[in-house]
Symmetry: C2
């Protein structure tokens, strides 16, 4: 079966209306955060953020299948010495729309942004909010547990020197990591904390999150030939992962060159996969 990739240029609030209802198995997205990435997107004021997002989530509720899942990657910024409240307000408002707030995963960023301030430390985590339409939804835990071997080993391969140093050190009042516990363990049960680095090596375009992030949720919440939607596609990390994993995908973005770029990357990945397959058959 051919895997389709549907990329649409435009504002999600409008473009989503053209999709039929109950057509998507998984939504993974990272919308522009309030007042961030102004150069690319407009930049939404924190006070207006909830009102700006609710029309989108209303449409997402419509297009998601009853068995589907919505994963929202977001983090509130610190303004004037205080954390903004628009994210937690959004959770409350989305529940009024009919969403169930099923879970909150944590993305623990290994390499967070540097900086120093008199009243706070570096922010090294983001929220991964899970929403569902029903209490019953598709979840293929085994799929994540099997690749959990890869997951754990790739995590160990890059077990950074810093992690090791801080393990043994008593400085910092006994805080430290003990990831080495994972060695020699075949299967690991995942938890709701994901420990990943941001990919900061993208050439021209800022990747929102590492591809391991959507990959993990795609494995967990979909099977082959299901459909994944990202209404704020950006550089297309979610769509590329979906395509590689043989899931159909729909992406929406209001920046034309992003749409073009993702289209051509998808195409070149397909071409590469085809020629690899051909080479193997000979």
């Amino acid at each position: 079966m051919k895997i389709t990739t549907d990329i649409r240029l435009g504002d999600s609030r409008e473009k989503l209306k053209s999709l039929p209802g109950d057509c998507v198995d998984l939504i993974v997205t990272s919308p522009p955060y309030a007042d961030q990435r102004k150069n690319v997107y407009g930049g939404i004021h924190p006070d207006e953020y909830v009102g700006w997002f609710l029309p989108v989530s209303e449409q997402l509720l419509r297009v998601l299948k009853p068995s589907g899942t919505f994963v929202l990657n977001i983090k509130e910024k610190a303004v004037n010495g205080e954390r903004s409240t628009y994210v937690i307000e959004l959770i409350l408002e989305m529940r009024k729309q009919g969403w169930l707030w099923t879970e909150e995963f944590i993305w623990h960023k290994k390499n967070c942004y540097p900086g120093k301030w008199p009243n706070r430390f570096r922010d090294s985590w983001e929220r991964l909010l899970q929403f569902n339409k029903n209490k019953k939804f598709n979840m293929y835990q085994e799929e994540v547990m099997v690749p959990m071997g890869e997951w754990a080993s790739s995590r160990l391969k890059s077990l950074s020197r810093t992690d090791k140093t801080r393990d043994t050190s008593k400085v910092g009042s006994g805080f430290g990591k003990n990831i080495s516990n994972w060695v020699n363990r075949d299967k690991a049960y995942p938890t709701n904390v994901l420990h990943l680095a941001t990919e900061c090596n993208n050439k021209n375009h800022s990747a929102t999150f590492p591809s391991a992030l959507p990959e993990w949720f795609i494995k967990l919440f979909t099977k082959e030939n299901d459909t994944v939607l990202d209404p704020f596609m950006g550089s297309g990390t979610t769509l590329l992962a979906a395509n590689r994993m043989r899931r159909h995908s729909i992406g929406i973005d209001n920046v034309a060159e992003y749409c073009e770029m993702v289209r051509s990357e998808i195409k070149s990945e397909i071409d590469a996969a085809v020629s690899a397959a051909v080479a193997e058959m000979r």
Copy 2:
């Protein structure tokens, strides 16, 4: 100077009223979670939790010094397949009381409780909500620094051209302004994710948090002879840490045997410390 430990038996909502205003430098507490530890605290229904807690936080706002900090360890439980919203509602209500929601730390539990559910993974993190009265508060960041990654030594050995030339003319982050600050630096500031085990060395008492947790916040937000308060003392982890670190402490609990137990543990720790000091002097 003698370090005092003040343990009071009773309900926090009442007992806190007997404390003078602006007398506490740091509050660290882990209140009974909704509907849990029923046997001990009677259990508060999730729907009533906010209303139950607000009179306490109102008193805490009164007794905390303007330069002080309130650290609240809490996590919503999953009820009926959904995460309860009482924690985020509490944040919004406490802001109405006058609290600033300064930061949300994550306690990433190394070895969380094993288990498996059809629709969720193990919960391996808890919230550590930081509240303050003022934008300016005491914070001793140097006290909790962690060893820096090894990359630093090689980098500083030969200051790379990028570090020297990188300036704000490029988009975004301006590194390379004051590299001289970095020479001979071997420690880095921590982040807002705390990664430590759920050690419960309290043999037969309801497990709260590991002592490393209050220790870290006591280091960060107080100095010697400051005063630490735990309005839900339980087995006294916070008070014991404060006492060891030579901070005065106040603990409140409505279970008489907890109060007795903490008193006697504090006493035996002091006795042990005294005899160790005497032995050293001989």
